[in-house]
């Protein structure tokens, strides 16, 4: 699954990661909000970013019908392991969570959270935010403080 934002960036979600999202849709797992982090690699030469892995809710996270709070614990350990095992090429690329609506749009809390995370400037310059809806998956990024949606390549 490939998304892009103008000529600036291409984002590919690898099959194994996409399968995990698809499982939420297939099994209709939307009773509680779920989420996690996006992990992948940067291809500087092609302005392409690849999401290779995602994390799913960990023990310390808080899930309810209309909210998901992700803690650091668990996710950081998975990230570190993937970083080491990939010869230090895999990096944190953003967040994902589910919405119990067919074509998801970010809430006020989501938007504020995404802006805040983009200001951290500790990881990749490009960060992505995915919402998995009951029918489709949508992707956003933050460019110069503004949230923009990526288009899906058909």
């Amino acid at each position: 699954m490939i998304f892009f934002y103008e000529e600036l960036i291409t984002l590919e979600i690898e099959e194994s990661a996409k399968c995990k999202f698809d499982n939420y849709i297939k099994n209709n797992k939307f009773k509680l909000e779920s989420g996690g982090i996006l992990i992948g690699t940067l291809n500087h030469a092609m302005n392409k970013i690849m999401i290779t892995d995602i994390t799913e809710p960990q023990h310390e996270d808080r899930q309810s019908r209309f909210m998901f709070t992700r803690r650091e614990k668990g996710h950081q350990d998975i990230m570190d392991t993937l970083w080491e095992n990939s010869h230090y090429t895999k990096t944190y690329l953003g967040e994902w969570h589910t919405h119990n609506e067919p074509s998801p749009t970010p809430s006020f809390v989501d938007k504020r959270n995404w802006i805040k995370i983009s200001e951290r400037d500790k990881n990749s310059q490009w960060l992505f935010f995915i919402i998995v809806g009951t029918r489709e998956i949508r992707v956003w990024t933050v460019i110069q403080g503004k949230i923009v949606a990526l288009s899906k390549k058909s």
């Binding site: 291809n43 500087h44 909210m67 998901f68 650091e72």
Partner: protein, 337 residues
């Protein structure tokens, strides 16, 4: 700046054409057997040796898969008894002919090209030498099959002396850094010059620039009791020295100032390795060295590993690893209301 030594070593592992490359060794053996089986009775005895970047330990893998194997063939002949060097080249050409699609007498060698689907997959260059001369020196056979008299000649040459000179310049781990940096330069060349023609400095000219201007970059780590090598700095210093070795020269024909460079082969025939490039081409070489330095300065200014790698990938292509610092995932909160 970030320490990139590990990235440089990984990069080097990826691009180096190693001595143990079995494909190349096999191809060479096949042809050498062919040569000894088929060479005509008229031909005198000979010995062979490896030459070229492969023999110097400075080869890089070609990106187009057109591997280049260089073999020297030393005939026990006195050049004065063979006024026509083409005669000797033909011994080799005829022995190898019929084996593949193309065996061709070129100016400086006999070239066997293997093809697959009309694409050359590798070629073997046989340089032919007269090795039993009155002056004790070696001469290479120059000229094509139908070259005029004045273009057929025996030229003074010292290919084995060249290999020894390069190999003996540094020892052990210092020599390894020397060879790594030569490979970085060659990879830079691949990504920054068009592949054909005289506008591109040759591999040997870059090797000799490194021979003249490289200096080892390492520090001693007392806690680990060993040398710690810094390939980035070695490359940076070499690029700067190369840039400084250009001179500014007025070109009458073009009515223009150009940055030009010359450097001599450190063995016979001591020719200027840039003699085939025009002043304008040399000036463009200068501009590229200057850009390389600017980009390396940019790398120095980066504090994020991913940003430093991004610049290096622009210089060297995607064989340079795209590594990142450890990520900090922090926390996150979302709500759908």
């Amino acid at each position: 700046m970030v320490n990139l030594q590990k990235e440089f070593l990984d990069f080097h592992d990826k691009i180096k054409l190693s001595d143990e490359n079995t494909i190349l060794r096999e191809k060479r053996e096949i042809l050498l057997n062919k040569l000894s089986d088929n060479i005509c009775d008229e031909a005198v005895t000979y010995t062979t040796f490896n030459q070229g970047s492969y023999a110097m330990g400075t080869g890089i893998k070609p990106e187009d898969d057109d591997y280049d194997i260089d073999v020297g063939v030393k005939f026990d002949i006195n050049k004065d008894n063979y006024s026509d060097p083409i005669k000797v080249k033909k011994w080799v050409r005829d022995a190898l002919d019929g084996h593949t699609k193309s065996v061709e007498i070129r100016r400086s060698c006999v070239t066997v090209t293997y093809q697959k689907d009309d694409e050359p997959i590798y070629h073997v260059d046989f340089a032919i030498y007269a090795a039993a001369n009155d002056d004790g020196k070696m001469y290479i056979a120059k000229g094509k099959e139908f070259s005029t008299e004045e273009n057929r000649k025996w030229e003074l040459s010292d290919p084995q002396g060249l290999i020894t000179t390069i190999k003996d310049k540094y020892k052990d781990d210092d020599a390894k850094q020397f060879r790594r940096v030569i490979r970085y330069l060659k990879k830079w060349r691949t990504h920054n010059f068009s592949s054909d023609g005289n506008g591109t400095p040759t591999g040997i000219s870059l090797t000799i620039l490194a021979y003249n201007y490289f200096s080892v970059s390492k520090t001693y780590d007392w806690s680990k009791q060993k040398d710690v090598y810094d390939d980035f700095t070695a490359l940076y210093n070499l690029a700067r020295s190369i840039k400084n070795s250009f001179s500014y020269k007025w070109n009458e024909t073009d009515s223009q100032w150009y940055h030009t460079i010359s450097t001599d082969l450190p063995v016979e025939p001591y020719n200027n390795l840039f003699e085939k490039m025009t002043d304008k081409q040399l000036n463009s070489f200068y501009t590229k060295v200057d850009t390389l330095l600017t980009k390396l300065d940019e790398v120095k200014g980066k504090d994020k590993r991913s940003d430093a790698c991004a610049v290096l990938i622009k210089i060297f292509g995607e064989d340079f690893p795209s590594t990142v610092d450890k990520s900090m995932v922090g926390t996150s909160e979302s709500a759908s209301l």
